[in-house]
Symmetry: C2
Subunit: 201 residues, 2 copies
């Protein structure tokens, strides 16, 4: 099946959203935790766009939708330059998904996830997550084509279970019961195929 630009633009909106969201394949599901500096209200929301930007300095990025509607995550990050990224696993993906609903209270309270703090980072971690990063906001890039924003943070702290790390520093995602998400709704379990060596001609 070939779908060109015209067919795509005339597609039912929900159908197009589903299709385009699932085109890039599987993505990590991560909970981003923030805190309001003034009210101290915590916030946690699921994102499927967390991407590795670089290892040294250690940088992660994620895409925010336009801030024309209120975006607590964005506001909090700008307030105190702090956020956490917490990987979702099989035992919490229902709660993680539920953070995308619009609540008037903290999504921690609404979904039963537990905020957890360290002395390095103002923003709350998700206690139930097994692979967590605390980050300091360093940069935002405004994408002109659709007014989304790439937020970039530098890792200040990593918290993870020792047994999930291989001898060479590779996190074992199947052992962590990590899941993947396609689009905004399809959740997948991961089964390790293999680690391939650095490619040479």
């Amino acid at each position: 099946m070939k779908i060109d630009r015209l067919v795509l633009s005339e597609m039912d909106k929900q159908y197009r959203t589903n299709l385009v969201n699932s085109l890039p394949g599987i993505r990590g599901a991560n909970l981003i935790g923030t805190i309001n500096s003034i009210t101290q209200q915590t916030n946690v929301a699921i994102f499927n766009s967390v991407t590795h930007i670089g290892a040294n300095p250690p940088l992660m990025g994620f895409i925010m939708r336009p801030v024309s509607v209120q975006r607590d995550t964005y506001i909090h990050i700008k307030q105190n330059e702090s956020f956490t990224i917490n990987q979702v696993h099989e035992n919490i993906y229902h709660q993680a998904h539920q953070t995308s609903a619009r609540y008037s209270v903290s999504e921690f309270e609404a979904t039963g996830l537990t905020p957890e703090f360290t002395d390095k980072i103002k923003a709350p971690y998700v206690k139930e997550s097994k692979i967590k990063m605390g980050l300091r906001f360093v940069e935002e890039l405004h994408i002109k084509s659709n007014e989304t924003i790439l937020i970039i943070g530098e890792i200040e702290e990593i918290i993870l279970e020792d047994k999930l790390l291989s001898e060479s520093g590779i996190i074992q995602l199947e052992d962590a019961k990590a899941i993947g998400v396609s689009g905004l709704e399809s959740y997948y379990r991961l089964l390790k195929l293999e680690e391939l060596p650095y490619a040479k001609p």
Copy 2:
């Protein structure tokens, strides 16, 4: 285990690269196809950073490392504003991985993947892939923190097998034998858990 900024900065380089690369969890594996306008040499390379930027207009992005060393993909995209994104599946991930080696000939030739052309897009598709997009380059954003570049393209054409689409437009990744990659080397098979409904309070 807690790893702070100082420990991370003093870590063995390869260990840190492995750790930081695998922190965001699973990612899609995609082959990006380009062509040199002058020599007509084709190029195909694996990327794990392809991210959905928006559905309307339909936009995809990916991260390029610094262009200080020669980056054919970047040069070709700037030459003719055209590239393709081709999802990797279980039957081609060894070949896909091998595209990351440095060849003097086209990676198509070197790895046995087959270039395929349509009249909509100059850049070559990967014939063996089941889920493909042809894109027109629209924007590049320079990330100051580490000189990487976010390349954004608008989808001009989608090519995929009909049977992979659900009634609501969601691509069935397990049926496509789509795989995921963690870091630069760990490949995973996907098993569908479920599709969750739009979250409401």
